[in-house]
């Protein structure tokens, strides 16, 4: 399990690097090498580390460990075929991590990131819609049952495509440079992670790598089903490529527009699930 966890972290970081490279190439820039995010994680591990004088010290440090802890838990739930509801819970609780990062330092930029994280709460509802649609069709929220259902009835991607779109949008909203990435947009420096440097930032990079891997693997398992290991990695790569296209071609939205669009998407998805519940 531990070697697989390490692989997941580094592969997640590699995917984030590929994401950056693809965005750059689509925008006709050379872009960084694809292993740039791995280098970032290693570089920050050995840089000088401090805690700002205005910070809540215990929270400032603990939130890094909590971030890594919750995504490690999500990873183990996923590979042991546990409840999709726990993955959903961990995804939502990642918001608390963003709050913790943003608010613990006393920095106004971090604070803005934290407040934006609160107002973008609508982005989580499509995930709930996706989970509900899966539950309606498969009658279970255990990932092992969902995979077994797809082995018999075919991938859920073709049965409930809008639910897959909902989860895709959720993953998109968590990727860097996404139109919905208002919590870390450049006008507030780096948003919630502005003040976390050195080893704390390395911890955050590790969390981001693991989070990307877990979210992409969740999509693959829940909407495509059981695949050989290389097939899973290839699917994740294709997902990242499609996300990179969206990120490269869509500007980052203003907080108001981001929340408005996410709320509209949420409304459409809720109607879809109600339709599935009645006629599905």
């Amino acid at each position: 399990m531990i070697p697989y966890l390490l692989f997941a972290t580094f592969f997640g970081l590699l995917l984030l690097g590929i994401h950056r490279k693809l965005i750059a190439r689509i925008q006709r820039r050379p872009g960084p090498p694809i292993w740039q995010e791995i280098l970032h994680a290693l570089k920050f591990s050995f840089k000088s580390t401090w805690i700002p004088a205005t910070a809540s010290e215990v929270l400032f440090v603990s939130v890094v460990l909590i971030a890594i802890g919750i995504w490690t838990a999500a990873f183990f739930v996923l590979i042991t075929g546990g409840s999709l509801l726990i993955i959903f819970a961990i995804y939502m609780l990642h918001k608390i991590v963003e709050h913790g990062f943003g608010l613990s330092s006393g920095s106004p930029y971090g604070k803005f990131g934290g407040v934006r994280s609160v107002i973008s709460a609508a982005s989580e509802i499509p995930l709930f819609v996706s989970v509900s649609a899966v539950a309606i069709f498969t009658g279970s929220l255990q990932i092992s049952d969902i995979i077994a259902y797809q082995a018999e009835a075919g991938p859920l991607l073709f049965t409930i495509p809008l639910a897959a779109v909902a989860l895709y949008l959720v993953i998109l909203s968590k990727f860097p440079s996404s139109p919905f990435a208002i919590v870390e947009s450049k006008e507030i420096v780096s948003g919630y992670k502005t003040e976390h440097f050195g080893v704390w930032r390395a911890g955050l990079e590790i969390c981001n790598g693991l989070k990307s891997y877990v979210l992409l693997l969740t999509f693959t398992m829940v909407f495509i089903g059981s695949l050989p290991f290389l097939g899973i990695l290839l699917t994740m790569l294709l997902l990242v490529a499609s996300i990179a296209f969206v990120c490269a071609l869509c500007p980052m939205l203003s907080p108001f527009d981001s929340v408005t669009i996410q709320t509209i998407i949420t409304g459409i998805m809720l109607i879809y699930v109600m339709y599935l519940g009645v006629f599905g």
Binding site: T54, I86, I96, P108
Partner: protein
């Protein structure tokens, strides 16, 4: 749907009130516990405010009496959240949820900022209104099924709780600070003093996550 959050592996009985731990409820409980411990152990941040148009900034210091009061409310909020995460009784869940709403207002009540006080007042009104569908939902569950025990409700021998009761429970919890009723909560976040203000957000998220399991159980 029985065991939506995994099968329960431990029961604690207090008379007819049963607390149960499943992988899902235990995960949520542990997170509430971790943040409550952080609230106890942490000193609050000192928020920096930039003076726009000038090369200056100010630091917001939190006085000791204010810190004590807010810490007390944040701990109470953490305890109420923990109770809501593991309770096996719909009425107790509603009670803990209401308590979370009260504590959330209390956490920012001592902050001397007009914006924060206004936001807390507006949030308090929405949370107060949210308790009507919340307890209404519990009442409908009791009236239609004859029990409020989630363990009994998850058994298929009882009539299923009506969809309107589930909808009321979710609506009540959304009133405690979830989208689309969270606008005031974002303003409350302007209050200095993490980790106390984080409890406002954490408790709402946890309760929303738990109510999903509660309605799936019924």
């Amino acid at each position: 749907m029985i065991g939506a959050g995994g099968s329960p592996f431990m029961y604690l009985e207090f008379g007819d009130i049963v607390i149960y731990f499943s992988p899902y409820t235990l995960s949520l409980f542990l997170l509430a516990l971790v943040f409550t411990v952080l609230v106890i152990a942490s000193r609050p941040e000192r928020q920096l405010d930039i003076a726009f148009g000038a090369d200056a900034y100010t630091t917001k210091e939190i006085s000791l009496p204010e810190m004590r009061f807010r810490r007390f409310m944040a701990i109470a909020c953490g305890l109420a959240s923990m109770g809501a995460m593991v309770t096996g009784d719909v009425f107790d869940f509603c009670l803990f949820t209401s308590l979370v709403g009260i504590c959330n207002v209390g956490i920012v009540a001592a902050v001397r900022s007009r914006h924060v006080q206004n936001a807390a007042y507006q949030y308090g009104l929405v949370a107060l209104a949210g308790t009507v569908p919340l307890f209404g939902g519990a009442a409908i569950v009791a009236a239609t099924t004859g029990t409020l025990s989630l363990i009994e409700l998850s058994k298929t021998v009882l009539p299923a709780a009506p969809a309107v009761a589930k909808g009321f429970l979710v609506l009540g919890v959304m009133g405690e600070g979830m989208a689309p009723f969270y606008a005031a909560k974002a303003e409350m976040f302007r209050a200095p003093g993490a980790p106390y203000v984080i409890m406002c957000s954490l408790s709402s998220l946890l309760i929303f996550l738990r109510v999903i399991e509660v309605v799936l159980q019924m």
